[in-house]
């Protein structure tokens, strides 16, 4: 009995409703956060920043956003790349237009702009459902990318159409631009992601979260018990786009530093985020992180092992990597269709019973 909740009684409803009802979980989360905030920044280097931690955080943010829409509200969207582009371009235009603006607000504003765009593109969801909606959201993906590619205003009339993030600061420390220190970009992303993970948790456990989940499980029944579907779906689109917009802004501003719409925010990114959400676990905050970790870190790890440790030719390794990732995805789904988060829950449940089965 490694893992126990006995002795952990709740005496009121407030306790019963907290985010991590089990003490051990609660401590684990605090320790992890403390580690991430107070230890990692001292040891981080460029490689860890640019290849591992910041991408992980940025994509976690996107996965959180899509999980709200797809995992909680059940609306499968393949427009994530397009919405990230909206976030990125808003971020760029804001950076250029208000050079003095604290980058934190730039990112938040980019999120808000994306949320507005998200609502507009969410409108068809009232009538179109399931995979029909999923495919239909590709319209926004392709249209948005086309638009950012075509209209020079968005990329400030630069000759190639690339956008490059200028240096912007927070508390006088550069967060974007070439001279931003690793620890600063990392902490910036970590703070944002932490705050918004908690907000996501709050939203999904309360009234709105239940409205979303009920739409997901059975939209007609939800409507009949008094949930206006349009409002529920559009709020999910808005919140989700807000997160995705922020992640797009972070991707462009903090992580990559420059972007071109078709490449950085192409359709494959939409799929990537959807994979994260499904592999991690639909309707699970933890799952968003696990999924992002899986799809961002495992390839890096695999590459390091195959090319770095075994010295295999890079192309063979690349092909094998695809093959393994594919096989792993299928394997996990066979083992636990509800994603890594569920796998984790089941493991806990087993540990709770261990060593006495049933």
């Amino acid at each position: 009995m490694f893992y126990r909740e006995s002795g952990d009684f709740k005496t009121n409803y407030a306790d019963d409703q907290q985010s991590f009802p089990i003490k051990l979980d609660r401590y684990a989360v605090w320790v992890l956060l403390a580690f991430a905030f107070f230890v990692v920044p001292f040891f981080i280097n460029d490689y860890w920043e640019k290849s591992v931690l910041v991408p992980f955080l940025v994509w976690s943010m996107a996965a959180l956003g899509l999980n709200i829409l797809t995992g909680y509200c059940g609306q499968v969207s393949l427009g994530t790349g397009g919405f990230m582009a909206v976030g990125a371009y808003s971020c760029y235009k804001l950076m250029i237009a208000f050079p003095g603006l604290n980058i934190f607000f730039v990112v938040i504003l980019a999120g808000i702009i994306t949320a507005i765009v998200g609502i507009a593109f969410g409108l068809p969801s009232l009538r179109i459902k399931g995979f029909y909606l999923a495919v239909a959201t590709l319209a926004s993906q392709f249209f948005l990318i086309w638009m950012f590619n075509k209209i020079p205003w968005f990329y400030n009339y630069s000759s190639s159409g690339m956008i490059t993030a200028p240096e912007r600061t927070m508390f006088g420390i550069a967060i974007s631009g070439p001279s931003a220190p690793s620890w600063a970009t990392y902490l910036f992303c970590l703070t944002l992601v932490t705050i918004f993970a908690f907000i996501a948790r709050n939203l999904t456990r309360g009234r709105i979260g239940r409205a979303w989940k009920s739409i997901h499980d059975m939209d007609i029944a939800a409507e009949i018990i008094g949930i206006p579907p349009l409002q529920a779906k559009l709020s999910a689109f808005a919140v989700s786009s807000f997160y995705i917009g922020m992640s797009g802004a972070m991707l462009f501003g903090v992580y990559l530093g420059s972007a071109e719409p078709g490449e950085a925010f192409g359709i494959d990114k939409s799929f990537l985020v959807l994979f994260m959400v499904i592999i991690g676990g639909l309707g699970s905050i933890l799952g968003s992180f696990l999924g992002a970790a899986f799809l961002i870190l495992v390839p890096v790890l695999m590459k390091n092992i195959m090319v770095g440790a075994f010295g295999w030719p890079a192309d063979l390794a690349a092909h094998l990597e695809l093959l393994f990732i594919g096989a792993l995805i299928m394997f996990f789904l066979v083992v636990e269709p509800h994603g890594l988060a569920q796998l984790w829950r089941m493991t806990k449940e087993k540990l709770r019973l261990w060593p006495f089965p049933h």
Partner: protein
Amino acid sequence: MSTENNILSIKNIEVIYDHVILVLKGVSLDVPKGGIVALLGANGAGKTTTIKSISNILKTERGEVTKGSITFEGEQIQDLSPTELVKKGVVQVMEGRHCFEHLTVEENLLTGAYIRKDGRKAIAEDLEKVYTYFPRLKERRKSQAGYTSGGEQQMVAVGRALMAKPKLILLDEPSMGLAPQLVEEIFEIVKSLNEKEGVTFLLAEQNVSVALRYATYGYILENGRVVMDGEAKALSENEDVKEFYLGLSDGDKKSFRDVKHYRRRKRWLA
């Protein structure tokens, strides 16, 4: 009961869902060839689970039989696929209707005959037979099953099973959602198939009075264990059964208005 006679016999099975939820805790039961056996019990007792473990569709719900054995006609069947079972003559009517929504009523019935090889004509005849059992279905034969009423769907589910011409039919709550007339009718069908064509039935049923009227033998499940079994007659005479399943206390039926707020609940397992 002697074992040779048993078309189906279950020995001490244990069923676990999701690797952790233990639901059946050693259920044993025998279904004699040509018998009608009723499986009774409260909600969540494990009736559906028992039936699903026979027809082997537990796996699709992440459940598995971890102990015990199930034999059909003397052969172990736990490892057979559901299809092979149907071919051997075991057909299940699932609880909660489960029609093919997008197929028409008639197509639904015809898929019931999917494994049959005895020609179109025989199938067409049986289709007619089902229609005579359920005239309502004939009226609605061209509508998509998803748009028929709850009771109609139930008829489709039962009719579909009949189309397979099985030896053993597992009926999970056949009377659910049917009008009283039809309930009697369904059981009449059961009886006539049983008598005329020798089909064996295992039925999970909440309508205990009707079930015991038609069944030959009965089992009562409670919390994943068999707590009582016996000839149907004997069961319906049993005082506890009378009180708690038939609602006859001292031989009288009481009004639903008069049930007390806090009642003594009978549980065989303390």
